[in-house]
Amino acid sequence: EPSNTGHTRSKRSVSYEQPRMLSDNGHLVFTTGDNKEIRFATSANGRVKVDNEDLTQLMSQIKTNKEDITDIKTHGGVVPPDITNKLNQLDTKVSTL
């Protein structure tokens, strides 16, 4: 029903216009309205911590991880010692034939 859709939309935009901090049955909830952001901004040695984890640092770790993975995918990782051993054995065998 088209009118219903309209209502839902307007309902949402109404009730969530301003950001809210709410307690929902003891859960602590931070909400914003449509298209609005929740931002964490740190400054000079200021930190955002989530249960003792440093959010800023972990965010940067995600990107480091991503880069490392790309690097491994592109250039390969360390050669597993098994392989190196096997290659050396073969090399020796071949050289002494």
């Binding site: 307007s10 009730s15 301003q18 809210r20 929902d24």
Partner: protein, 341 residues
Amino acid sequence: LHKQWIPDTNYENKTNWDKKDVPCGNDIVWFPAQRKVSVFVETMHAVQEMRLPVGGEFILNSGAGFHVVTGKDPGCGAGVTTKFKDSESLQWFNPALWQAAATLEDLQLGNFLFSVHEESVPCQHDDVVFKARSSFRVDTSSSQSSVPVKSVSVLGKKFESSSEFSWYLISRSGLLQFHGSSAVTLRNQECGDLSGCDCGNSGNRQRICNTVTCASLSCKNPLLPVGHCCEVCGAIVTIRYATGFNLQTYRQRIRHIFLILPQYKSIQLGMSKVFKSQRLMGIGPFGTSPEIQVVILDGEEGTQSEDLARDIVKDAQSHGSNLGITDAEFQASSGSSSDQT
């Protein structure tokens, strides 16, 4: 008319705190765990600690928020535990908690209208206003299954569609702001009758009057206006009308001709259509006939009210045919009435 709910659950409102002051950075702010409340926060506040209710919300106006201070907040005092007051018991059907005005602009300018108790509470054709940038909690328990009004404005948004508003009522904010056994419903109906409409609150008369404490009176013959919970000292003008009578225009006329006069500065005047029970032809069953009741109070013994009543009747008699008035009479608490003039 527009009826505006007076109380709020705003953080900045000193009267909402048990220490009668807005908490500052050394204070512990305590919302009791079970308090259901929607708090509007208009500006930035320092807190030492805030204990939130288990169910509640803080609506943050742009620029509003909370911060903590390092060490002590200068100018805040030693720090106290301050509790947000209970707004659980504030009832929709309490006439003292509403302000009435003809238009939104008049509401903002503070041009409030006086009404009898039943009509101080929103009538079925009224626009109900909860102040923008403000939150609240109201108990809408009624003697009827629903509380019909024309529209409701909340947080600056005017609801005119009944389904849209019923969605709002079950939203988180709606559930925190409105509670009670009956729900407010939107009829979105204008009063189609230019001569005025019945308010529709007589079914809740008992509920309304239970919230009212009547003042002791010093006049000889106190009057009981229709729709009022208390006898009053003053005067009542009763106007009977015909086609062409326009209540809104007539209200303006009385204001512009009389109420602006210095001698009537402290007068309270309420005007509405009421249905008075009367025995038809003096015999037979009770019937009701609509008439316009003008209640005039001066907060004193009623002598100014009587003067004004006399002026209004005189005006009605000389201009009645233009105004659609067929008959006007008054009764005063001094004992005099238009019958004697």
